[in-house]
Symmetry: C2
Subunit: 253 residues, 2 copies
Amino acid sequence: MTPGDTNSAPDRPTGRGRIDKRRAILDAAIRVFAREGYVQAGLDAIAAEAGVAKPTIYNHFGGKENLFREAVLEATQRSSAKTLAALEGFPTPQPDDLRTELEGVATRLVECFRDENSWALQRLLYAETVRFPAVFDDWRATGPAKVSDALAGRLARLANSGRLSIAEPDRAAGQFLALIADGMPMLSALGTRPIDDEALHEAVTSGVETFLKAFSPRDAEDQEEQEKQDEASGRSAGAGRRPRSRSAASPRH
Amino acid sequence: MTPGDTNSAPDRPTGRGRIDKRRAILDAAIRVFAREGYVQAGLDAIAAEAGVAKPTIYNHFGGKENLFREAVLEATQRSSAKTLAALEGFPTPQPDDLRTELEGVATRLVECFRDENSWALQRLLYAETVRFPAVFDDWRATGPAKVSDALAGRLARLANSGRLSIAEPDRAAGQFLALIADGMPMLSALGTRPIDDEALHEAVTSGVETFLKAFSPRDAEDQEEQEKQDEASGRSAGAGRRPRSRSAASPRH
DNA sequence: ATCGAGTTGAACTGACGAGTTCAATCCTTT
DNA sequence: AAAGGATTGAACTCGTCAGTTCAACTCGAT
């Protein structure tokens, strides 16, 4: 109406100065999207939460879809960076106790996974991957793929120094993550309830325990012969079981 | 409270009016909800797909929320029954080859998990657990909890007959499922793309391999001493590591 | 044939959201 | 101080959807 009543509040949170409107919008967007879901989230709500007018959103991003894409990408990068940081310093150059070493990194990783933002991101992806396949691809590439890769490299170091017996570091990394984190969705109700710390710690240590039982070097000569494990022979489903390597069914040979 | 109360046959068992509109509505509902998500799914679309008028939906279920609850519950029961059926006949009374046995049941389980309905259900739960916490609880109780329990019991049989060395069957069941199925979300892009059969089979056999390496009985006397694994003593990180079993740093020889 | 419960199509209400427009306003630059 | 671009608030269009109402209809039961 008349300009006599403009700015009823003398304090303006971020003022009208354009500091980082863009950042503010992205922050608010990922929060609202996470809370309401893509369809339910309203641009008015995002604008309000960002302390920004609705047209400003259209100035920076072209519309809802693009805003969603950029917000998810931003959140993915932030989450991924945090998780990769949890891998820093693992493994210790000459770890005294391998179990402690693994439990340490596992705990740090799980601490990342239990983060509210991480869960929100995952719920959004499950909900919207059908609508936004490209968003899922970006997420996989800059999130889990990087983490799994980095972990594989570090496990490979331990294997190389003889502390672990790992033929395929990539697979071992995936299995390590599966063992320590697979129970979390149930423990936290897909991230919607606080996790019981005791139960989580039990799950993590138990996962590390199983990982160690599976990948601890058992015999000295095992280490040498696991370099070659190619799959030159076809692996048709109906074919009989090949002896493979020193795998498991015959520890004494 | 038991579900077998009224209509279940295509004939009208009681003085009910028409054919089983109710079933048709539930079928269409879960399909549309799975395809569009809860918010986006329209009751008009569900009515059309069920071959039913919109008011009929309100006659049977009171509104959208209740329809969603009942549709998800129905889908959960169907999916759970299928998965439990995959556990039938495992383990074979006297399995020749434990690896084949485990790979068999793992393959059957994974075949259930890759089902389109199973994925749709999971995506819906991730998307709507915030809005419908009770739905998640029902799903967990009649779905994963049952499956994990049943698997634990069957693994316990194998442990009891000395084929496996398992201290905590429940945890082992969870870890078995994690090892064989944790890679599926990535392989299938959360169920939105067909899985590469080769890659899936590799993941399953590799998971079974790791499981066997971890839980194959190694020494005879081990079996006895792992019954008591209480945590009476505090498990502070800095404390000396208890010898536990033959786990890692002591290659017998 | 009649009754009546269940079903149907259609139209309607009320609410909400995406996207747009525009004059007024703020901040920075010159 | 003046210019000029970014930002703002508010109102508006257009479409969708949950939920409701109602007269007409179907079909089995009596």
